[in-house]
């Protein structure tokens, strides 16, 4: 961590986005994580993505559980409300918050201990319910705050910093998200912002449950030889299936790519996702083949990254349970209370 506060004075030439904010307006408190922590790169990517999308910072709610990853919402979007809840329970708190006000953007920040161990049930069920959110797991395979125990995503046979081999099979969050029909599933590497920023932007724009598993090395406890979540290991085994160039509908498609190399996916809200193919046999709209592909490559020791699956037909919990368009937290006494006349009628049926 650094103790050097950034100067508050901004250079007048700093670029403003269409919402009128400079990039610094999306920053938060100074990170207290270790220097070089992958999580800080993810925070930086979130800042970049929100700035580029012209999102008003205060219209974002950041929710998290407990752990190093869950501390990070304090380090970006300082003018947004944040909620550091209890261990593994971010998904339920986010679900409730989303029910109360459907008009905000919900960022759920979690870690592998938070989501794959104690909170695996909540991870599963909030995806099942189709909560409109961006759910990011900052996945380092280790418990950092308690100093280096294996987490449930650590690969079987990977070595801890103390030299112990992990005896347990790993939980594959991407595989689970696909199985549970999250309508947007991606995996990224915190060390590759060019890949991560567009994925976050697409996830934000996606009108349904978006899940991004970000491999995010822990420099203090899981960046050594024998770890499968180290910077070196992930770089060597990263098998990207595509590069996402997120394009909003107002922008023209530029002809940078050879025909056949690009997939355009129209989203339900009219926006377009444009993907540059890396693996030519990969179709990110085919959920079942995506599951096979990810599993086959995992068996071969490769970490498949990119936009793994996106459903053009995404919907969300509010549509399923048919809530009114006005956020529930804006309904007042007149909207909510049926009044004494209705009560008299009820009394009459109870005699």
């Amino acid at each position: 961590m650094t103790y050097l506060a950034k100067p508050k004075l901004h250079h007048p030439s700093l670029a403003r986005n269409q919402a009128g904010y400079i990039r610094r307006d999306y920053e938060g408190k100074i990170s207290t994580l270790c220097a070089g922590c992958g999580h800080d790169s993810i925070s930086a990517s979130l800042i970049q993505a929100c700035w580029e999308l012209d999102i008003q910072p205060h219209r974002v709610a950041k929710l998290s559980g407990i752990g190093c990853s869950s501390k990070t919402p304090d380090y970006f979007l300082g003018n947004s409300h944040g909620f550091n809840s209890v261990h593994g329970r971010m998904p339920s708190v986010l679900t409730g918050a989303n029910l109360a006000n459907r008009d905000l953007l919900y960022l759920g920040i979690s870690g592998d201990g938070d989501s794959a161990s104690i909170g695996i049930g909540q991870f599963i069920h909030c995806i099942r319910r189709g909560v409109n959110m961006v759910y990011i797991v900052e996945n380092n395979g280790v418990y950092g705050l308690t100093k280096g125990q294996f987490s449930a995503t650590a690969t079987k046979g990977s070595k801890s910093k103390r030299g112990v081999l992990n005896p347990d099979e790993p939980v594959d969050l991407v595989g689970m998200a696909l199985l549970l029909r999250a309508t947007f599933v991606a995996r990224a590497f915190s060390g590759d912002k060019k890949q991560l920023v567009p994925l976050i932007k697409a996830a934000i724009q996606h009108p349904g449950p978006s899940f991004i598993d970000v491999i995010s090395p822990c420099v203090a406890f899981n960046n050594h030889e024998g770890s499968t979540k180290s910077y070196d290991y992930v770089r060597q085994h990263n098998a990207a299936v595509n590069r996402l160039d997120f394009i909003e509908d107002r922008e023209e498609i530029t002809a940078d790519y050879a025909p056949g190399d690009v997939i355009s996916i129209a989203q339900h809200d009219g926006s377009l996702l444009r993907l540059r193919k890396v693996a030519h046999d990969y179709d990110p709209t085919d959920r079942i083949r995506a599951m096979n592909y990810v599993q086959e490559h995992a068996a071969a020791g490769e970490i498949v990254t990119g936009l793994l699956y996106v459903s053009p037909e995404a919907a969300d919990l509010h549509q399923y349970i048919k809530t009114v368009d006005t956020p529930l937290n804006q309904l007042g006494t007149r909207d909510l209370c049926p009044g004494s006349a209705a009560l008299e009628k009820i009394n009459a049926t109870l005699r």
Partner: protein, 611 residues
Amino acid sequence: MKQITAINDFVVKFANVNGSGSASANELFARSILRMGVPVSPRNIFPSNIQGLPTWYEVRVNEKGYQGRRGGVDLMVAMNPQTWDNDLKEIESGGYLFYDNSKPLPPSKFRSDVTPIGMPLTEICSTTYSDPRQRQLFKNIIYVGALSALLELDPQEIEKLFSEQYKGKEALLQSNVKALHLGRDYALKNLPCPLGIRLQRANNVGDRIFTDGNSAAALGAVYGGASVCAWYPITPSSSLAEAFMAYCKKLRVDADSGKNKYAIIQGEDELASIGIAIGAGWNGARSFTATSGPGISLMSEFIGLAYFAEIPVVLIDVQRGGPSTGMPTRTQQSDLLACAYASHGDTKHVLLFPEDPTECFELTAQAFDLAERLQTPVFVMTDLDIGMNTRLCRPFAWDDSKEYDRGKVMTYERLEAGADFGRYLDVDGDGIPFRTYPGTHPTKGGYFTRGTTKNRYAQYSEAGPDYVDNMQRLMRKFETAKSLVPRPLLYPAEKPARFGAIFYGSTSPAMQEALDTLAEKGIHVNALRVRGFPFADELNDFVRSHPWVFVIEQNRDAQLKTLLVNDGKINPSRLISLLHYDGTPITARFIVDQISQHAGARTVVPLKIAS
């Protein structure tokens, strides 16, 4: 043998097998008595099971309107051979036994001091109906028909209820009416009608309504403005969330769009349910969960978060017998301490104690105002006896001029005007800070909510003074709660009384009856019904003004007394606990018996001195 004779004052108990369709027939019996203007209080006694195990339905008929469980049975309708022996034992001497005599039973199965009334129900059904399901269902209606003759229950009232229930379903209506008269005609011809216990038209029901506490609390949540409900099925609270769903469908669908002004989520467990409710409360919607003791145990971590991060949320605890899985289908008041101090660390929570369905409605609605005013979890402490039994009670009422109290919410305008916003800053001494809803203002009013310690401006701080400052403010806030929770209600004795009695919740009907009975015996007791925690100061005054105060509870460990001593700073030497905790609802007989014994031991009879 002297037979029991009584008009409008007796207990009928139905012994059935669950899943046999008896419940609706038995409720029909109870409702038709009400329609004759005679108060009844029915109670379901059921197992944690769906089909095949014993179940009972006990109806107390009482013209005076006493609705507590009386104890003892005057007429047993013994429809379950499995439980015959015990059912027989329960009948009061001089009572009656109505049974199916299709198969002969040996004399050892009867009691010489109980009048047997046999009717070949199975035989009648077998000759009348060919479909086995019909034989079973109509058997229940046939015995209601027979009882109408035996007890002089007006069959027209039953027919009226049928016609209300089967509106537009003519075939069903006719077949039920037919079964009713089949039973009634047989009884009139072959049985000793009427019995010594019987009904007589009265006018003691008035405008009261007949409903259960779970439905009433659900309706209270609708009227109290709850828009988010998250729950997980658990006996005896499941019917509360289900009733909320049903009432919302009727009362909360936007007429223009057809969309819902509510969201109900069945969580994957209690942890998710309270998490969802807290998330919604944090974001400015009124939210609640309904559960029972085991759910409270599971939710405790989250309850601590809501206490410390100061998030409004309402929990309705329909208490059952504990500990652990305990007695899932029996009643107790045994979650008081678990709720009052839920979660680790120093916590205290606001509790409300409704006495009946009407108060379930009122206090649940009020709980949402309290939760938002105090920015903290508020517990409505009902129980199975109130929640799952229909009770005759005051009609629901609502004041249309009432606006919800949304508490201290900092608005865009106030932030813009330069208000000093500290999320945990006590601006006026009541311990309650201002909060902002997420998304209020682009640059002001944002804050980070956390379960960790913080300073007045919601910044993470482990500094001792910051921590202590915050904890003391939370104490001040709890002090403020004292003046906001419902006050205790005094039931003064008609004559000067040396004894006091403190009671709460579902003990109420048994207590009111006990007080009358005790007064008739010359034992005068001033009673105080506690309705909220933290306790009002007048509770202390009440105890101080009596040498002895009975504290009547339905748990083993005297949990309210513990709270009175620990938090109300009440002198324990004056308190005498009367505890009933076998899972059945407390009775007036129990209270009278216990208080009489204590009063006897504490009454000094002057020695007669020979002159």
